[in-house]
């Protein structure tokens, strides 16, 4: 049942909601401002931890009060809010123009001004029309996103406490602006909550722009030339998306001067005639935000930021906003040529970004490309948009958020102890940092191995694509792309579990905050796999059912077998207790050459060498430059195509 009741007198008796939704939007902002004010490190720790705890609990609390099916609406009858938002958008535009002038980034200035001009035009149109009462809303999908933001996002903030302290020690050249940093982190959470709880599109847009702003400032945190350039790259691409978003608002203002189509919940049920054009424009905005090709460069560039920023941007917030909005509009896109092409952009991004990841040795870049790939897959599901695919897409969002944030935080921890982000330098991590290595191992397994989450989603996607129109293309993409993922994850796994005889243990001096975040995320990675039938039946299926009137799940037999596999996987490590007694430990085979225990051997010309082992990167086949060019050209062409088609519909 869809609750389309527009009667402003109808206030359902969920007093908790009226408190909780605005609370979740405003509270992180309050914490953010507080963090801007306190400068003492001890106080900051206290505020961040307390804030994170409260946000986490509040988002968990939502789980218990969200209705079983369908959305729940909460009109916010305060006219001044929309005006304040408009004002804030203008201030932000002015601020960005100032920064643009300061750093001589004229393209950014142009884009900011273009967007601001469109926005002013939109406001003048909207002011003439009648006022719809803006609404907040919550349904299972918003709830899932809120849990991801509230739990994973705040864990990353806690982790950042430990990380940033070390970061400033290691980078004395970077000015200590930790107050601003934590302000931005929490402000980011606040805008994300706003984004997923807003039903009123102009509000969605407002929060959308806030995430763009926060990510821009966070990427440029270190203030080096590279960071500033990459920050502006991200800004430009996201502004391009923002302009498309305003375009959607303008289009809606033209077709329905009354403003009744400005609610997501109404718009997605109002038919292709009116909804398709704004859906495509917003999906374009989503593609820029989710960094699909041809806009993937900003996400890779964003890796210059401190690791918690990467974790926040690329697992639980920023990019998830992009896919969130596309999944929201999946019911409009499904069955259309435009939707199919958007799906193809996602599909090709998945394939090519996965292939590029093979050639990367920088752990953060591997994670970046794998993020881009997975976002591509989510968009492929949402673009084709049948109910089964939307089910798979939401599953992907959940599993990806957890496993990827865990991996980013592991890499950040390792980076600070061994001084490198390079996978080649992670040889023998299992000896050097056993706990972190096991966590990283679980995180990687979570990304591609049965019976962990991401694989379940890919599997569901294969099954769903077979039945979809033109689904065979996507099945092929998944078959090839999926096996490519196996390669780059496995060789990374292999690196960290190599028991290297020369390694010394360095797993000390890791701050407590990092341990908290890492252990909780590891536990969650395993937990969501065990609990996924429950997550599916209580959260994903009701949402899919309420939007499509039909839903899907894995068959009972398969769920049972998966759970059995997971248990088997969890008891296997106990065999080590038995095998640990092994006495006959010998050095590896060195072709009969005399070698020392630390693997030095007499090489040719009488030179003593030490064994070093390096992974394959297969540059010739999977080189970044070549594939990136191909992907950009291909996806850019597809975007032009969808643009032309949409223009045809609009005119």
């Amino acid at each position: 049942m869809i609750n389309n009741d527009r009667n402003p007198d109808f206030y359902p008796f969920e007093g908790e909601f009226m408190i909780t939704l605005p609370f979740l939007i405003l509270f992180p902002a309050v914490i953010a401002v507080l963090l801007l004010l306190v400068s003492a490190d001890a106080w900051r720790r206290l505020v961040v931890k307390a804030g994170a705890l409260i946000i986490g609990i509040a988002s968990l609390y939502l789980l218990f009060i969200t209705p079983g099916s369908g959305p729940e609406f909460f009109p916010v009858a305060l006219d001044s809010i929309s005006e304040l938002m408009f004002l804030a958008e203008m201030v932000i535009a002015a601020f960005l123009v100032y920064l643009g002038i300061k750093y001589k980034k004229y393209l950014a200035i142009f884009l900011v001004l273009a967007q601001a001009a469109l926005l002013v035009y939109y406001e003048s149109l909207a002011a003439a029309g009648t006022h719809a009462v803006p609404r907040l809303f919550i349904d299972q999908f918003s709830l899932i996103l809120a849990l991801i933001i509230g739990i994973i996002g705040s864990l990353i903030c806690v982790y950042a406490l430990g990380y940033m302290a070390t970061y400033q020690e290691h980078h004395p050249e970077v000015r200590d602006r930790r107050r601003t940093f934590f302000f931005l982190m929490f402000f980011f959470l606040s805008s994300m909550f706003g984004l997923v709880f807003s039903d009123y599109l102009p509000w969605v847009f407002f929060f959308w722009e806030l995430t763009t702003l926060c990510s821009f400032l966070l990427i440029g945190y270190s203030g080096t030339g590279e960071a500033v350039n990459n920050a502006f790259l991200a800004l430009n691409m996201n502004l391009l998306g923002g302009i498309a978003f305003v375009g959607a608002l303008l289009y809606l203002a033209f077709v329905s001067p009354g403003g009744e189509l400005l609610d997501i919940s109404t718009l997605i049920h109002s038919g292709h005639m009116v909804a398709l054009v704004p859906a495509v424009l917003i999906a374009f905005a989503g593609i820029t935000k989710a960094a699909l090709m041809p806009f993937s460069a900003w996400l890779v560039g964003a890796m210059v930021a401190p690791t918690p920023v990467s974790a926040l941007l690329h697992s639980s917030t920023m990019v998830k906003a992009g896919v969130y909005i596309i999944v929201r509009f999946a019911p409009v896109l499904t069955g259309t040529m435009e939707g199919l092409i958007i799906g193809l952009i996602g599909g090709f991004t998945f394939l090519l970004a996965s292939a590029i990841a093979i050639s990367q040795s920088n752990a953060k870049k591997v994670l970046a490309y794998s993020t881009i790939a997975n976002l591509g897959l989510i968009v492929a599901c949402a673009g084709v948009g049948t109910y089964k695919l939307v089910w798979a897409a939401i599953l992907l969002i959940i599993f990806h958020a957890i496993a990827k944030s865990l991996l980013f935080l592991c890499v950040g921890t390792v980076e600070h102890r061994i001084g490198s982000k390079d996978i080649e330098d992670m040889t023998g991590l299992i000896v050097r940092m056993p706990h972190v290595a096991v966590m990283m191992f679980i995180g990687i397994a979570g990304m591609f191995l049965a019976p962990f989450g991401m694989l379940i989603s890919k599997w569901a996607a294969i099954e769903a694509f077979i039945e979809a129109q033109f689904g065979l293309i996507f099945v092929a993409i998944l078959a090839f792309g999926g096996s490519i993922t196996v390669f780059f994850w496995s060789k990374w796994m292999g690196k960290i579990i190599s028991v290297c005889p020369v390694a010394a243990k360095v797993e000390n001096r890791i701050p407590q905050e990092k341990w908290i975040a890492l252990s909780l995320l590891t536990a969650m990675t395993v937990f969501v796999c065990l609990a996924f039938p429950l997550i599916s039946s209580h959260l994903i299926e009701p949402f899919v059912l309420s939007v499509y009137g039909a839903t899907t799940r894995l068959s009972q037999d398969n769920v049972t077998i998966m759970v059995m596999m997971l248990f088997l996987l969890m008891i296997m490590p106990f065999s080590l207790l038995w095998f640990r007694k092994e006495k006959n430990i010998v050095p590896p085979y060195m072709a009969g050459r005399p070698a020392t225990p630390d693997l030095h051997f007499l090489g040719s010309m009488g030179v003593t060498r030490q064994v070093t082992l390096g992974n394959y990167y297969l540059e010739e086949v999977f080189g970044e430059k070549k594939l990136f060019m191909a992907g950009t050209a291909l996806c850019f062409g597809l975007i032009l195509l969808v643009g032309t088609l949409t223009a045809g519909v609009a005119l």
Binding site: A476, S490, S498, A591
Partner: protein
């Protein structure tokens, strides 16, 4: 309907069939090379002897990976013969191989390290085709469950000839037959010693060998699915396919990784995808 009794039968019988198969394989290979060859039961003697040897390891964690490899190979085969979901079987099968690769990585040995890398290349070479094979079976029978595919009495091979040829490529890689025995070989002329299995010895190597037997029986079961509508034809097809693999093994010299990857993907694309595309097109015209 998952049939546990078939899974139990597989777990008990497969090593015997697999070992016997290895014996026949060696005998036939020897005959092709003009040798007499070892007795038929030689593989069993070999494994029996391995179990009697003293265990040496490079690192104790090797045990964990090898045991997991064996357990998950058995599990995926058992799931297949019990009639489970084909895609899940394939994923469990991949998981098992990842354990073998990790076992090779764990020893930090030059030879097994290169073997591990090559084994991964082999995995990505065959995996798309094996998934496309499952998808093809789904397109014909509308199910991924092996027991339903078995019960459908459709002559799958007539719908999926290209997929079948593609699957033979998978079989060549999986049976570790030349030209695709990059990561480890049955023959003693490997430039990377024994590749993946270099650092496994004694009882541990015996487990790897037994896992390989299980794996081979599972793969032949997969071949049988294409001919399941007629058991006799099915068994003949398995025999022909296997003899063909032995012939290929003795005819070609080892390929490079690049050739392996490219040819596997081209065949998956040309044979598998084109076959599925035709099927997809026809399903719109004539109901399958």
């Amino acid at each position: 309907m998952i049939l546990v009794e078939y899974a139990v039968i597989f777990i008990i019988l497969a090593p015997f069939i697999g070992g016997l198969l290895a014996g026949i394989d060696r005998k036939l290979t020897a005959r092709m090379q003009g040798r007499v060859g070892p007795p038929l039961l030689q593989p069993f003697y070999d494994v029996g002897k391995l179990f009697k040897k003293e265990q040496i390891v490079v690192t104790p964690s090797q045990h964990f990976y090898v045991l997991s490899y064996l357990v998950f190979i058995v599990a995926s085969g058992a799931l297949f013969f019990a009639g489970g979901d084909l895609l899940l079987v394939i994923f469990a099968f991949t998981l098992a191989h990842i354990f073998l690769v990790l076992g090779a990585y764990s020893s930090y040995s030059p030879y097994s390290f290169i073997g591990a890398e090559r084994e991964l290349i082999q995995i990505i070479a065959y995996e798309p085709m094996i998934i496309l094979a499952a998808v093809g079976m789904y397109m014909v029978t509308k199910t991924f469950f092996v027991w339903e595919i078995m019960a459908s009495s459709m002559p799958l091979i007539l719908y999926l000839p290209g997929v079948f040829l593609g699957f033979l490529m998978v079989l060549t890689i999986k049976l570790r037959k030349s030209p695709f025995d990059l990561s480890t070989s049955h023959h003693a002329h490997q430039e990377i010693v024994k590749g993946v299995t270099t650092e496994f010895s004694g009882p541990m190597l015996a487990r790897v060998e037994i896992a390989h037997w299980y794996e081979n029986v599972f793969l032949l079961g997969f071949i049988y699915l294409f001919f399941a509508w007629n058991p006799l034809v099915g068994i003949i097809a398995i025999i022909i396919a296997y003899v063909l693999e032995i012939l290929i093994d003795n005819t070609f010299s080892r390929a490079t990784w690049k050739f392996t990857l490219k040819s596997a993907w081209i065949i998956a694309g040309m044979m598998g995808l084109v076959n599925l595309g035709v099927l997809y097109y026809l399903s719109g015209v004539v109901p399958v």
